[in-house]
Symmetry: C2
């Protein structure tokens, strides 16, 4: 059963997973290209290091998943104007700012398979250009002029920071509960997905129930996305994903696969996790051992199963909307989030 569960990642052919993201991008193609042009235009500054650092991360092959949520959610809600393009750019600027700061905090050398901005330009530039992009995002929101959007994205930004700090506090703490771990990823990842989707309803002038439904969609999608990401850190095709396998392990990050393997392990296994994650004493073979223990207890499959449950909740939240290409594309992107990189 466990062996079968570990194979859930092989259920669908690769083509259909990539297709889901492509289909969403195709559906919002014109808006997405306008959004990309706006991002490039508004990351400019007379201080030339700023667009250089920003271009490094903006051009580094991001999927633009979050701004696409805003664009598609707005169209799902029947919006026919152009404001959603600017708001999608705001979402991507906030995301980019957090990536720049994350890489400093995590001391990452790679981001999407390329040298990270902090590795190329230094931590100082990454911190400050992150601050610039964050400020620029709020300038764009002010230009748009909608206080409800400003409220949603300023709240999301504070929640992201809270999630990141909570992650810092729980890092290396193998006694972290699953509930607390879900709090971390709700903040650091899912809050921005939720906000991105919700402002699609706001810009379309839909009622509070529709706003709440899109927020629930984004929140559950974000949780599924992050749990799948945690699995990928142990399981991905490295070349495809453009990240280094085992980064989380080497940083001593407690993610759900680690917590589940620890909970299911015997005393000698728990001693292994305490040494490698809590005491952060790691040898050359430890990543391999960690993977073997996770497979023994089906920890990766169980994490993916939970990702699937959040994914199902995300899809269910969309059911109140009439069937449309946008609704289908958003539902399909849930599968992409869970199965990408595999």
């Amino acid at each position: 059963m466990r062996a079968a569960a570990e194979r859930t990642t092989e259920e669908r052919p690769a083509a259909s997973r990539d297709d889901a993201l492509e289909a969403l991008a195709d559906l919002v193609r014109d808006d997405l290209e306008a959004c990309n042009r706006l991002i490039v235009a508004r990351m400019q500054s007379p201080v030339e290091l700023i667009p250089r650092v920003a271009a490094h991360i903006v051009a580094a092959g991001g999927k633009r998943l979050r701004p696409m949520l805003t664009l598609a959610a707005a169209r799902l809600c029947g919006y026919r104007g152009e404001r959603h393009v600017k708001l999608a750019a705001c979402v991507e600027f906030i995301h980019t700012a957090t990536l720049l700061h994350d890489d400093v905090v995590d001391e990452s050398a790679l981001r999407r398979g390329l040298a990270s901005a902090n590795a190329v330009f230094g931590n100082k530039a990454s911190v400050l250009v992150g601050d610039f992009l964050f400020s620029r995002s709020f300038e764009l929101m002010v230009e748009d002029g909608a206080l409800p959007v400003l409220a949603i994205l300023s709240r999301a930004s504070a929640t992201i920071a809270e999630g990141e700090v909570l992650q810092l506090v729980t890092q290396n703490d193998i006694a972290t509960t699953e509930a607390r771990y879900l709090e971390v990823i709700r903040g650091k990842t899912a809050a921005l997905f939720a906000a991105a989707a919700r402002i699609g309803a706001v810009v379309a002038g839909r009622d509070a129930a529709d706003e709440a439904a899109l927020e629930a969609f984004g929140m559950n999608l974000g949780l599924a996305f992050q749990l799948a990401d945690d699995v990928l850190d142990y399981d991905a095709d490295q070349a495809k994903l453009g990240k280094t396998i085992g980064d989380d392990f080497r940083e001593g990050k407690v993610t759900l696969p680690v917590l589940l393997a620890f909970a299911a392990g015997d005393e000698s296994e728990r001693a292994f996790w305490r040494r490698t994650i809590e005491d952060h004493e790691q040898g050359a073979n430890d990543l391999g051992t960690a993977l073997a223990l996770m497979r023994r207890h089906g920890a990766l499959a169980e994490t993916l199963r939970r990702a699937g449950a959040f994914g199902a909740a995300a899809k269910a939240a969309l059911e109140r909307f009439a069937a449309s290409p946008e609704r289908q594309a958003l539902m399909d992107v849930v599968d992409f989030a869970i199965r990408r990189g595999r």
Copy 2:
């Protein structure tokens, strides 16, 4: 002449300088206390490390000069409501966020005479709690609901980041022009002073000319404040200011005193500046030599003279307002900004 110029710092008795800041604080005492309570209340988070880091820097003896500018400017403009208290807290949150990030960027060990937050809690917590306070500032502005205030403070935040990045680029570059240096401090310091003062006029509903006058007051005050700060880094009573003499020199920061001494120096002096600032090769006696060269060319006095010129412009900008205790206190605080720590 030069020796006399070096004595300009001694023109006024110490008591009157401290009195200027105290007088301003007394004038806005109730509002300032309400602002401090609001700051403490709104830096709370369920993630307990956040208020701990925030309290470390908020409680570290800041003068609250920037929020006092907002409070006093609003009263100067005849405002009688309470919104200015919230906006003053926004200004202080932005300032605190930039301090946390500055200390990471500068690798500072001390802030206002105490261990800096990054020294106590680490760079990671400083970056992320800075992000939290920045986001919280925008949440507060949204609660207030005034788009013009959001426009002013989001623009100021972007300008601060631009100034900080420009400082990073010019650091160690002895060929930095004075004009470019003024751009740096206009961004990193004066933009927030300008915004803080201007929103006093906005909250009071005054016209664009009054807004512009208070912005000019804040901008010129901020430039004077930063130039005086640059002098203090070479000249202060260390115990009184709570900072380490020579920090800027050791970091290879080009500030106006260095640029003026370099410009006035002969070839051997220029070689000294190139070695210590550009190549960043410094020995035990080099700070002493730097100070001697600055005194030889009156570089500190000349920097203070320019600070005085900006200070005079700041005072002139207030002349369109009717005489009042607030106007007098704001004018007197210009002298405090230039003469503090001496």
